[in-house]
């Protein structure tokens, strides 16, 4: 796999992983703002699943 292709494959998973980690930790260390940040960031993986799962494949670039 070329470096460019590696980047294309892994960008979204890495972003989702970082967002999830930020959310899991923020609610633990801070109550009000931390909770809201956790809701927003942990909604990201759920939203991604709901957005892509029912969609037909876009044409290959």
């Amino acid at each position: 796999m070329s470096a460019k292709r590696q980047i294309r494959v892994w960008t979204a998973p890495i972003i989702l992983g970082v967002l999830t980690s930020v959310g899991l930790i923020s609610a633990l260390v801070s109550d009000d703002a931390g909770d809201v940040l956790a809701w927003l960031t942990l909604a990201a993986p759920v939203a991604v699943c709901c957005w892509y799962a029912p969609r037909r494949q876009r044409s290959e670039s």
């Binding site: 292709r5 960008t11 980690s21 609610a27 892509y52």
Partner: protein, 380 residues
């Protein structure tokens, strides 16, 4: 880049760690779903109640009276613990058991912290939620069942790591999030398995690993007892067990004075697994979001009522205490619980689709699959 051999080996790891653990992980995800809302369901079904509103009542009941009243309800049993709940500051909870070291409680009472009135008896070992909890916790088999489920959690971690490694080669020809609905049912479900699996990866890993740490709660607390508590109470060794205990109300007051900016989480009575034969141990939680999850033990001589020692918990107990909210999802309000439930449902789909894919194509080698998928993925 991974060689074909490496991909095949990682795929083998993914397949077998998943196959061995899937049934148990499915059970854990399904039973875990209602457990996220344990508190709300208990209140809705009347298993738990709220203390009554008493405007203007600022009195504080004496804990000694509450403990005596609880004892009088079951004269043959012993009081084992008293608990506080930060969400119910007007309540004291008292548990009793047949003997101090009984593994199961015989009663769990709720008292009004203002008036000392008896409010409620929590029904133990019955009901739908208790059934879900026992399946999730130890499958009704005690510590061996808990440790076995911990092993399944380790297999989940291995399955997630290996699944992530093989995600790369499977996705090299596809944009992120591709779901080929127009292809065969198997390819559509492979795409969904990949999408949902990679999206929930970090959450599943954290819930899985913290679940494994939780399965070690009994060994971890046993280790703390045998090292830290034993060294703090060495001079009491060999003394006869106490017949009467000093005032629990005083013990709580002493503990509060010992640890500033902290409040009682629970206090173990002498002879229980969380205390010693000669001491109360009060477990205090802090007041900041993070320190409220941690506990500081205060040892109190149950004869003289004096404070003996208070040391912060070792790292392995802290790791256990922090891993509990991260597993339960109960630390960020109702919205976090709902997200926890949605992520759990996605995890159930990942597990189910994994089984489906294995049933459908268990005889096709991974190289053939990758080659075939690459061709199919390249078509517009």
């Amino acid at each position: 880049m991974l060689s074909a051999t490496a991909i095949r080996r990682w795929y083998w790891v993914h397949k077998w760690t998943s196959l061995v653990s899937t049934l148990f992980l499915l059970m854990l995800c399904i039973t875990g779903l209602p457990l996220i809302f344990y508190h709300e369901i208990d209140h809705a079904t009347g298993y738990s109640i709220e203390p009554p509103e008493l405007p203007g009542v600022t009195s504080r009941a004496n804990l000694d009276d509450i403990v005596a009243a609880a004892q009088a309800r079951r004269p043959d049993d012993v009081v084992t613990f008293v608990f506080r709940d930060p969400d119910e500051p007007e309540a004291w909870f008292v548990s009793l058991a047949e003997t101090p070291s009984s593994p199961e409680s015989s009663a769990f009472y709720m008292y009004d912290a203002r008036t000392g009135d008896f409010l409620h008896e929590y029904p133990l070992n019955q009901g739908f939620m208790n059934f879900m909890f026992r399946l999730h916790y130890d499958m009704f088999t005690g510590l061996p069942g808990t440790l076995f489920l911990g092993l399944m959690g380790l297999l989940l971690a291995a399955s997630l790591v290996s699944g992530t490694v093989v995600y790369g080669p499977f996705m090299r020809k596809l944009p992120f999030g591709s779901v080929r609905h127009e292809r065969s049912s198997r390819i559509k479900w492979l795409d969904l398995h990949n999408l949902l699996g990679i999206a929930t990866l970090m959450w599943l890993m954290v819930v899985g690993v913290t679940g494994v740490i939780n399965t070690l709660a009994i060994p971890i607390l046993g280790l703390w007892q045998q090292t830290e508590v034993t060294s703090m109470t060495a001079k009491y060794k060999g003394q006869p067990p106490l017949k009467e205990f000093s005032s629990p109300d005083q013990a709580v007051a002493t503990a509060r004075a010992t640890v500033p900016d902290a409040d009682l989480s629970f206090m173990a009575f002498p002879g229980t697994d969380f205390a010693t034969p000669h001491h109360y141990i009060a477990f205090m939680h802090g007041s900041t979001p993070l320190t409220s999850k941690l506990l500081t033990p205060v040892l109190i001589d149950a004869k003289s009522g004096e404070m003996i020692d208070s040391r912060s918990m070792p790292w392995y107990v802290k790791a256990l205490l922090v891993s509990q909210p991260l597993h339960f999802g109960d630390y960020g309000g109702m919205v976090l619980k709902i997200l926890w439930a949605l992520l759990d449902i996605l995890a159930i789909v990942v597990l189910g689709s994994g089984v489906y894919l294995w049933v459908k194509k268990r005889n096709v080698p991974v190289e053939a699959r990758l080659g075939m998928l690459a061709t199919e993925g390249a078509t517009p």
